[in-house]
Amino acid sequence: MPVQQRTYEVMYIVRPDLPEEETDRVISTVESNATTAGITVKNVERMGKRRLAYKVRKFQDGLYVLLTVEGPGSALAELERRLRVTEPVIKYISVRIDEEQKRLAKVKKIRDSKVRQRPQTAAGSEPAPATA
């Protein structure tokens, strides 16, 4: 059986007191870490500086970065290990999202089919009062 390719979301927080170019470097190293671990990075989104809900390593705010990645679980474990080692990253969380995406697609499909049915019935009923 081939290795399962799964979609994950990895959100991590970079410490806020670094200079701009330093944070850029951290983000790009995380990205390259991911690719060397055997993960394909689909999207990198900087969510900007945010206030933390509680103090983390004595920081009151942090720079949130969101990665959307695809790869096997073992590679993700490796990425997590590297994130833990990376000093400027103060917190991270990885969430598997493929199941959720599948579910959402299913719900959307059902909803779309319902919507398509309804206008038909509405179109059928509408002309009747118009003629009457």
Partner: protein, 137 residues
């Protein structure tokens, strides 16, 4: 004169006689006295099987005393919010109490499957410091 005095006496005697009668009258409807108390927990709670909804009808006194409580509905079902994501702090924040606790279903009216996903999302959000575990006091 004496007659008048007598009258006064009788009236005064009648007054206390009437007085106990007066409290007696409210006490009869007050037999559902525990009801407002009983409603207390029901108040935030909302629907309970055979709870506040059934009681006023059973007592046969509906009308003016009955106050209308809107039936709670699941926000996620009504607004057709499909995804409950840990990143959506504004949405999750509505279901977190001041001190950072997750608000129970009985208060918010969220349906069971949605509450399950909501709790999971809130816990994820807490882990990445988007929501507090416990608000600082």
């Amino acid at each position: 004169m004496a007659d008048e005095e007598k009258k006064e006496v009788t009236t005064s005697a009648e007054a206390p006689a009437a007085a106990p009668a007066a409290p007696a009258a409210p006490s009869a409807p007050a037999s559902p006295g525990p009801r407002p108390y009983g409603r207390g927990p029901g108040g935030p709670g909302g629907r309970r099987p055979g709870g506040p909804g059934g009681r006023p009808g059973g007592r046969g006194e509906g009308g003016p005393r009955k106050f209308f409580r809107r039936k709670k509905v699941c926000k996620f079902c009504v607004e057709k919010i499909d995804s409950i994501n840990y990143k959506d702090v504004r949405l999750l924040g509505q279901f977190v109490a001041e001190r950072g606790k997750i608000v129970p279903r009985r208060l918010t009216g969220v349906c069971t499957p949605h509450q399950r996903r909501l709790t999971a999302a809130i816990k994820q959000a807490r882990n990445i410091a988007l929501l507090p575990f416990a608000a600082r006091y």
